[in-house]
C-alpha cells in the first residue's frame, strides 16, 4: 500500500521533514496524549494508591480492587451495578438492534416512497440530548400527567399501566427501553448503509429464482451485513457500559428506587464525587474507572479477534 513518496518530499533534508511532521501532527498528538491517553494512564496509576484524606497518597498495590470485589460495603453495590449494566445491555441487544435491522430492511426495499422522510423522522430522537429525552419520558410515563395511562386505556389496556419508572422491578428495563427508543436510529442508519452497498446482481439473481423480498432479506442480505451488525453490537456495548446521563437525569446520582437502576456509570460518579450517603473517594473512583476500562477492553478485543475474524469471509 505504501506509495513511494514523491521526489520532492523524499529529497527534503531530514530536519525539514521532521519539522513538517511536528507541524502537522504536533497539535493533535499533544492534545490527544495530554487530555485523553495520559488521564487514562494516570487514573489507572491512581487506582493503586490510597489517600488518608489530608492529601497524602500511599501506594497500596491492588488493595483497592480487592476491597471493591470482596468487601461487602463495596462489592454489593459494585456487582449490583455490573448486573444492572448487563441487563441494560441485553435489552439493547434484544430490542434496539433487531428493530434497527428491521427498519433498515424496510427502508432499503426498492422503489419505496417517502424513504428520506421516514429516515429523518426515525433518526430525530438520536440527535437530542439524553437529558431532554429522559425528562420527556419521565413526564409522559408519570401517573401525575396520565398520558401513558390514557393511551393504554384508549386501546383497552388501561389495567396494564403502572408507574414503571418508580417501581424497583421495572425501573431499569423502562430506562433501557427509553434509551432504545432514542438510539435505534444508529443501528438503523449503519445497517441501512450496509444494505445499500450490496451489489444489485446478487439480489437480482435471487429475484429471478423467484425468492420473495422477505426471503431475499433473510437469506441473502442479512448474512452479508453481519460484519455491520457486529460493529453495531460493539458500539452498543461500549456505549452501554459508559452510560450515565440518562439514569442521572431521570433518577439522580442515587439511581433509585433503592439502586434498582444503578449502573457502572452512576456507581463510578457516586464513588468519585460522593453524594448524600458517602464522601467522594478519588482512588476508589479510579479503581472503578479502571475496572470499567478493562470491561470495555475485553469487549473490544472479543469483537476484534473473534467476531470480526469469523465474519470476514462474508464481506466483499
Amino acid at each position: 500500500m505504501a506509495e513511494p513518496l514523491s521526489q520532492v518530499v523524499a529529497s527534503m533534508p531530514r530536519g525539514r521533514f521532521l519539522g513538517l511532521l511536528a507541524l502537522f501532527l504536533g497539535p493533535s498528538v499533544a492534545i490527544y496524549t495530554l487530555f485523553s491517553i495520559y488521564p487514562l494512564i494516570a487514573t489507572m496509576a491512581l487506582s493503586t494508591y490510597t489517600s488518608d484524606g489530608s492529601g497524602t497518597y500511599s501506594f497500596v498495590g491492588l488493595a483497592n480492587f480487592v476491597t471493591l470485589l470482596t468487601d461487602a460495603v463495596w462489592s454489593k453495590p459494585f456487582w449490583n451495578a455490573v448486573w444492572n449494566n448487563l441487563v441494560f445491555f441485553a435489552v439493547h441487544m434484544a430490542v434496539q438492534n433487531p428493530i434497527g435491522i428491521a427498519l433498515a430492511g424496510l427502508l432499503s426495499l426498492p422503489a419505496l416512497r417517502f424513504k428520506g422522510l421516514y429516515r429523518t423522522v426515525i433518526f430525530l430522537p438520536t440527535m437530542l440530548s439524553v437529558v431532554i429525552v429522559g425528562f420527556s419520558w419521565n413526564l409522559i410515563l408519570s401517573p401525575l400527567w396520565g398520558v401513558a395511562e390514557g393511551a393504554l386505556k384508549a386501546v383497552g389496556l388501561g389495567s396494564w399501566f403502572a408507574p414503571w419508572l418508580g417501581l424497583p422491578s421495572t425501573a431499569l428495563v423502562t430506562l433501557a427501553l427509553i434509551s432504545v427508543w432514542q438510539f435505534v436510529g444508529i443501528p438503523m442508519m449503519l445497517i441501512y448503509a450496509a444494505l445499500l452497498n450490496i451489489p444489485d446482481e446478487l439480489v437480482d439473481a435471487a429475484r429471478v429464482d423467484g425468492l420473495g423480498q422477505l426471503r431475499i432479506f433473510w437469506h441473502i442480505k442479512l448474512p452479508l451485513v453481519l460484519p455491520t451488525i457486529g460493529l453495531v453490537s460493539i458500539l452498543t456495548f461500549v456505549g452501554n457500559f459508559n452510560a450515565f446521563d440518562l439514569i442521572y437525569s431521570v433518577k439522580g446520582a442515587l439511581a433509585g428506587p433503592n439502586f434498582a437502576s444503578d449502573i457502572l456509570g452512576t456507581f463510578f460518579y457516586r464513588t468519585f464525587f460522593g453524594n448524600q450517603l458517602q464522601v467522594g473517594n478519588p482512588t476508589m473512583g479510579a479503581a472503578v474507572a479502571t475496572v470499567m476500562f478493562f470491561i470495555v477492553l475485553v469487549g473490544v478485543c472479543l469483537y476484534l479477534f473473534i467476531v470480526q475474524r469469523r465474519m470476514r469471509r462474508y464481506s466483499f
Binding site: 501532527l25 492534545i31 485523553s36 427502508l107 420527556s136 442508519m189 441501512y192 423480498q213 476500562f293
Partner: protein, 276 residues
C-alpha cells in the same frame, strides 16, 4: 400485482407507526409547553387553541435561569472545539496518509485508541489536572477535553477523504516548487470541505448534548452549558410543569431546526463515514 400492493401498504403502515412513536413524545412536549397548566393536565393530547394558549412557562424560564448564558456557552464550546478538531484532525490525517515514516502506522493505531475507549474513564485524572492547571470551572477545560475526544474519529474519517484526493494534484503543485504547508492549506484543505458534515455528526452532536464533563468540570452558572443548565433547572422546578415543558422545548427546538435543515448532509455523512 395486488399482493405486491398490499405488501407495500403494509410496509408504509409499519414505517408510519414507527415514525409516530419516534416523534410523538417530542411533539407532545413541545405542544404542551404552549398551554396553560389547566390544559396541560385537562387535555394533554389536544393542541393549544385560543383559550388554552399560554407562554407562561417561557417567561419563567427566561426569568428564573441563565438560559441565554448557557446557550452562549454551549455555542462557544461546540464551535471552537469543532473548528479545532477539524483543523488539527485534517492536518494529522494528511500527514499520516501522505508522509509515510517509520512509526506512522503505530502512531495511527495510537491515535485510534480513542475511538473505542471513552475519554470519560480518565475523568478522575482530568479533574485533578484541570484543578492544578487553574482551568477548573472554565470553558477552556471543556474545549480541551472535547478536542481530545473528537480527534480520533475525525482523523479516521478525514484520512478516508484524504486518500480519495487524486495524487496528481499535490505532485503537480510540488513540481512547481510550492511548499508543503501551502499544498495542504491551499490545495488539500478546500477539497476536504465535504467531510465537514461527516465529522460534524461525530463531534458537534456529542459535545452539544454532553452532560458528564460540564457536570464534573464546571461549577458556576457562568460556565454551565445548555445541557447541564437545563438538567439543573429541571431538577429544581420539577413540580412546575409549565416551566419544565418550556425548558425542554427550548432545548429541543434549536437542535430539531438545525437537524431538519442539514438532515440530508448529516445522514449521508453518517452513512458514508461509518460504513468504510
Amino acid at each position: 400485482m395486488l399482493k405486491q400492493r398490499a405488501e407495500t401498504l403494509g410496509v408504509h403502515i409499519i414505517l408510519v407507526a414507527y415514525s409516530l412513536l419516534a416523534i410523538g413524545p417530542i411533539l407532545l412536549v413541545v405542544m404542551n409547553s404552549f398551554k396553560t397548566r389547566k390544559a396541560i393536565f385537562g387535555a394533554p393530547l389536544a393542541p393549544p387553541d385560543t383559550t388554552t394558549f399560554s407562554l407562561i412557562g417561557y417567561y419563567k424560564v427566561f426569568n428564573a435561569s441563565h438560559i441565554v448564558t448557557y446557550f452562549a456557552n454551549s455555542l462557544i464550546v461546540t464551535l471552537v472545539s469543532m473548528a479545532l478538531v477539524l483543523l488539527f484532525g485534517a492536518m494529522a490525517a494528511w500527514a499520516l496518509t501522505e508522509y509515510k515514516f517509520r512509526g506512522s502506522t503505530a502512531l495511527a493505531l495510537f491515535l485510534s485508541i480513542g475511538i473505542m475507549v471513552p475519554i470519560r474513564l480518565g475523568s478522575v485524572a482530568i479533574v485533578t489536572m484541570m484543578r492544578k492547571a487553574g482551568l477548573n470551572d472554565t470553558l477552556t477545560a471543556l474545549i480541551l477535553v472535547y478536542i481530545a475526544q473528537g480527534l480520533p474519529m475525525s482523523i479516521f474519517i478525514l484520512s478516508e477523504f484524504v486518500q480519495q484526493i487524486p495524487k496528481d494534484l499535490r505532485d503537480a503543485a510540488r513540481c512547481d516548487g510550492v511548499p508543503e504547508t501551502r499544498i495542504f492549506f491551499e490545495v488539500i484543505a478546500p477539497l476536504l470541505r465535504p467531510a465537514i458534515a461527516t465529522v460534524a455528526v461525530f463531534t458537534i452532536v456529542p459535545i452539544w448534548n454532553d452532560l458528564w464533563f460540564p457536570l464534573i468540570l464546571t461549577s458556576s452558572d457562568s460556565t454551565h452549558t445548555i445541557t447541564l443548565g437545563v438538567q439543573q433547572f429541571l431538577g429544581q422546578y420539577i413540580t412546575d410543569w409549565n416551566s419544565v415543558l418550556a425548558a425542554l422545548s427550548m432545548a429541543i427546538l434549536p437542535v430539531v431546526a438545525i437537524y431538519v435543515i442539514f438532515s440530508r448532509q448529516l445522514i449521508s455523512g453518517l452513512t458514508a463515514g461509518a460504513v468504510k
